[in-house]
């Protein structure tokens, strides 16, 4: 953390110090490094190892400057990245001191002695700090005539990161990042002297969820991403600031595009959210767009039962005819932008006249609906609250797997000041271990909550009856800060846009006449549906028993909801808005192609509720955002929603604003009595960050670093079943079974944990539920 950030975080006055750099005075907080103070003056000192978010290392020696304090000069040039400013310090950089200039040129010459001249085939060529600084502060000519040290190249330190050791300047940015920021010290500096090199332990590859950041901060081309290797040069690429579509962490991103195709994505710079980091999923999972066959033209199902390509007017007319004056519901999916979710929300109310709309394509409950409508919508907790928290409680939430940047923020405080962390997880996952999380079996074990504590609830809390009620009580009693962090990027935005059966946009309760009048006026409609709508599972049930006739579906994978979701759709009229062919398009009556993230503008709300706005990356794309298509559909149905563009939608959302009236009351639920298990075990699961998720398709290098699926059980249970660690067990329910190798860990004897959607362990598809009782035997 830089002293500037410290100032922000603690809000305590910090002593200011004035130094003279190259003849200019600058005043900075005490503790600021000379290299940072120089930056404030716009003086750039060359550097490789220095990174503002990593601890000083002084490894590369490139930033040598001449320093004198109180009239006494250091006998030799000093590394400005390790020396904090002092009063009466006079610094002379390469701009004013020949000593510093010569020292920097000398270091550069040393670094280049063993650096290969393979810039022509190096991915970093053209955007390389070593190239740039060799030009700006290096000697014009090398005096080295010997033979350069070479290594076998490249070596693969994980399936997604390649290492060219001879290019490395041993700045240790990658090893320091892995240890300090990610807590995954899987790469280290090995050997010594001329043979010193970055390396791994051969059997343990660099399988960190954050490994891509090392590629981004490598100041030379030593670490490169397998998927981007040799793909492009910087001048080929058009860079667009974007937002990550993978989770609700809300990372700022940079998307690099060449000729309409994403070639790479990099972490953007947002100190209040992701700092300068992101996770490997955000960085490398973008091939889902080219992986499956895109839907490019509208299609309607003909009398022969097959989908046929057709024109837009025909498809829209067909869809409108199937929806008009019918009882229809809307399944939005968790990946929409705020604008698209608003489009679905308005479409449901105005065109379909129903509140049967839900964004939750995952297990959910009425208790959760009530929690989201009353509590989650009005939370004001932010990343900054984690920075100053006195303890963090994780409930139904596994940060490293489900919101990796939230994990980095908590880990930062854990490693800095041993922030206490509690978790209700059934066993200590790798993430929990890194956080030193204390596992609690139930909420009554949470003690000492203060107004500075942060309680984070995840979407999986919906799977435990009564859990949200207990949390609500806990927060009301203690005044602790609460955060709701769902897994998917679109959920917070969809909630705010009213894509939920209980709320209209802006958190207006559907059952409140004043709220309805408010929205109806803004939408220029006479009335809005008055009763609370159906949730996702209720919509599916209603479709199945013909209480509903039709359904409009956004980006939804039926297997995220339940094993029967797809069959429940079969008897109804299905309008699918999709980017690629999917399980839903296979049964849909109308398929309307929509724009993928890079083809549209829009915004997400991150879990803090802050908008993450992004622009269209592919300017000449003809694909249209969901909201535009819904607007066309509504026009055809004769009940227009008047949302022709994303920007018009954004304006309407802004003008509508938030509800300031009475919110709905939170309806408490009572937790279930634990039923007798007998020989069976209670199944627990969550999704791993890297798994079989739809948006990770087509990227084998990324999938290669996913954690291997295994079933976790206690030692006593393993003995009872008669299995040893690594042996296969069979887990079965009435609906199916799966086999996984066992991992024995400390957990309750009546529990078993498996990953929810990994290779060999797709819980909903294999067992039919995520929460239930299973039979476990040795396979």
């Amino acid at each position: 953390m830089t002293p500037e950030q410290a100032l922000l975080e603690t809000e305590v006055a910090i002593e200011m110090i004035t130094v003279v750099i190259d003849g200019f005075e600058v005043t900075v907080p005490k503790g600021t490094l000379v290299i940072r103070a120089a930056e404030k003056l716009g003086i750039q000192i060359p550097r490789f190892c220095d990174h503002p978010l990593l601890k000083p290392a002084g490894a590369c020696r490139q930033c040598l400057v001449d320093i004198e304090i109180n009239g006494r000069a250091f006998p030799k040039p000093q590394a400005s990245c390790t020396i904090p400013v002092e009063n009466n310090m006079i610094v002379k950089t390469q701009l004013t001191s020949t000593v510093a200039e010569k020292a920097q040129e000398g270091i550069m010459e040393f670094l280049l002695i063993n650096h290969p001249l393979d810039c022509a085939v190096c991915d970093k060529g053209g955007e390389c700090p070593l190239q740039n600084q060799a030009m700006s502060t290096g000697r014009p000519e090398s005096r080295f005539e010997g033979v350069k040290r070479t290594f076998e190249k490249p070596i693969s330190i994980s399936s997604q990161v390649l290492l060219d050791r001879e290019r490395c300047v041993l700045c240790a940015r990658c090893t320091r990042f892995s240890e300090e920021i990610a807590g995954d010290p899987f790469i280290t500096l090995n050997e010594r002297g001329a043979l010193q090199q970055v390396g791994i332990y051969e059997k343990d590859p660099f399988e960190s969820y954050y490994s891509g950041n090392t590629v981004q901060i490598c100041p030379v081309g030593a670490l490169t991403g397998t998927s981007y290797r040799f793909r492009a040069r910087p001048f080929d690429l058009v860079s667009i600031d974007s937002a990550c579509e993978h989770c609700a962490s809300g990372c700022a991103m940079r998307t690099d595009i060449r000729r309409g195709k994403t070639l790479r994505r990099l972490a953007g710079d947002d100190p209040s959210v992701n700092e300068e980091w992101n996770c490997d999923k955000g960085r490398w999972a973008f091939k889902y767009l080219t992986n499956r066959e895109r839907v490019t033209t509208p299609m309607i199902r003909g009398a022969d039962g097959e989908l046929h390509e057709t024109s837009w007017p025909e498809a829209i007319a067909f869809a409108a005819a199937g929806l008009k004056d019918k009882r229809a519901g809307v399944l939005v999916g968790g990946r929409t932008t705020v604008e698209d979710a608003y489009g679905y929300s308005k479409f449901a109310r105005v065109a379909l006249g129903t509140n049967d709309i839900d964004f939750r394509a995952r297990p959910h409950s009425d208790e959760e609906t009530s929690f989201l409508s009353r509590v989650a919508l009005n939370l004001k907790t932010t990343y900054k609250d984690i920075d100053v928290a006195d303890q963090v409680v994780l409930l139904g939430f596994e940060p490293e797997e489900e919101s990796p940047i939230v994990f980095l923020r908590i880990y930062k405080q854990v490693s800095k000041r041993a922030l206490p962390v509690l978790s209700d997880a059934p066993f200590a996952s790798r993430g929990s271990e890194k956080l030193g999380a204390v596992l609690i079996s139930d909420l009554s074990k949470i003690a000492n909550l203060t107004t500075k504590s942060v309680v984070i609830v995840g979407e999986r809390l919906a799977e435990t009856r009564g859990a949200f009620s207990s949390v609500y009580e806990l927060i009301n009693k203690s005044g602790a800060k609460l955060a709701w962090i769902p897994r998917r990027s679109g959920e917070p935005g969809a909630l705010a846009a009213g894509a939920i059966p209980t709320l209209l946009p802006g958190g207006r309760p559907v059952t409140d006449p004043a709220a309805r009048v408010d929205v109806a006026a803004a939408w220029s409609v006479e009335s809005l549906p008055t009763s609370q709508g159906r949730s996702t599972s209720e919509i599916l049930l209603a479709l199945n028993v013909k209480n509903l006739d039709a359904v409009v579906i956004g980006g939804v994978d039926p297997l995220d909801i339940s094993s029967t979701a797809l069959t429940q759709l079969l008897n109804s009229f299905v309008v699918s808005l999709e980017i690629s062919h999917s399980a839903i398009t296979a049964v849909a009556d109308v398929v309307l192609p929509v724009a993928a993230v890079i083809e549209k503008s829009g915004s997400y709300l991150d879990w803090q509720g802050s908008p993450r706005v992004f622009e269209k990356a592919i300017a000449d794309s003809l694909s249209r955002s969901d909201v535009r298509i819904l607007s066309m559909l509504a026009d055809e149905m004769g009940s227009p929603i008047n949302l022709p563009t994303v920007s018009a939608t954004a304006r309407e959302i802004a003008s509508l604003g938030k509800w300031d009236g009475t919110p709905v009351a939170f309806e408490k639920s009572v937790s279930e009595k634990i039923t007798e298990l007998g020989e069976k075990l209670n199944l627990k699961s969550w999704r791993l960050l890297l798994d079989l998720g739809t948006l990770q398709g087509g990227e084998a290098n990324l999938a290669g670093t996913a954690r291997k699926a295994s079933a976790h059980i206690s030692k006593a249970r393993a003995e009872k079943i008669g299995v040893k660690s690594g042996e296969l067990i069979s887990i079965s329910s009435e609906l199916g079974s799966l086999e996984l190798p066992v991992e024995i860990c400390e957990m309750a004897d009546d529990l078993i944990w498996v990953p929810r959607n990994s290779i060999g362990s797709q819980v909903i598809a294999n067992l039919g539920f995520v929460n239930g009782q299973v039979k476990v035997i040795k396979a």
Partner: protein, 210 residues
């Protein structure tokens, strides 16, 4: 193959000497060499597990220090000092004659597994140059012939005792145990500082150089 419970108990006792467990990494690596003869995979993995470190971190330490070997050492590991003073006093010659004699190169081991050789850096015994170390015991003022005799006697199973230190040369594994901090009870044997080291002290006691 796992380490035995006695061996793991000894590792625990080594760890208990330090206020922070990770400080025990170096003696533990020596202890692994005492058992396996070099830093084996099971050694790295066990140390990482019991010290709660990543395997990569253990690798970093074991590959940094030259006393840790990544391949099996001979029962008698002969280090010939090739730094400036020893080299000019005959170290280079000793090394060459030794490689010819044994038919192996730097970091290699004889086929019978008895002797391995290594070019080593200064061992702080320049006053006895040229110096050869066998299992980190000093053999002072060596000649090519004396070193040949030494390795021959070692291969015959009856090595000549060190010039200083204990009265019997112990094997690589046995001495690794000492480096791990396990007492072999031989600390009192032999001279620790020879006459060449003490010459300066003697002169100053006699009133300095006249």
């Amino acid at each position: 193959m796992k380490f035995t419970s006695e061996q793991l108990k000894i590792m625990d006792s080594i760890i208990s000497r330090y206020p922070r467990s990770r400080s025990a990494i170096m003696p533990l690596l020596h202890y692994v060499q005492a058992i396996d003869g070099y830093v084996t995979e099971r050694g790295i993995e066990t140390i990482a597990e019991i010290l709660n470190l990543a395997t990569a971190e253990v690798t970093a330490v074991s590959s940094f220090y030259t006393q840790y070997r990544s391949e099996p050492a001979g029962e008698y590991h002969v280090g010939v000092c090739i730094n400036t003073l020893c080299a000019v006093m005959g170290g280079d010659e000793i090394y060459e004659s030794l490689t010819d004699h044994l038919g192996i190169e730097n970091h290699e081991t004889t086929k019978d597994g008895k002797v391995s050789i290594e070019r080593i850096e200064c061992n702080a015994a320049c006053d006895y140059a040229p110096v050869v170390m066998v299992n980190w015991e000093f053999y002072d003022n060596q000649t090519p012939q004396s070193v040949k005799d030494l390795v021959d006697s070692a291969r015959a199973g009856n090595p000549r005792p060190p010039t200083r230190g204990p009265s019997k040369l112990r094997t690589w594994k046995e001495n690794s145990e000492v480096l791990a901090g396990l007492n072999d009870g031989l600390a009192h044997e032999g001279v620790s500082a020879g006459s060449a080291s003490l010459l300066g002290l003697q002169i100053s006691k006699n009133g300095g150089r006249q």
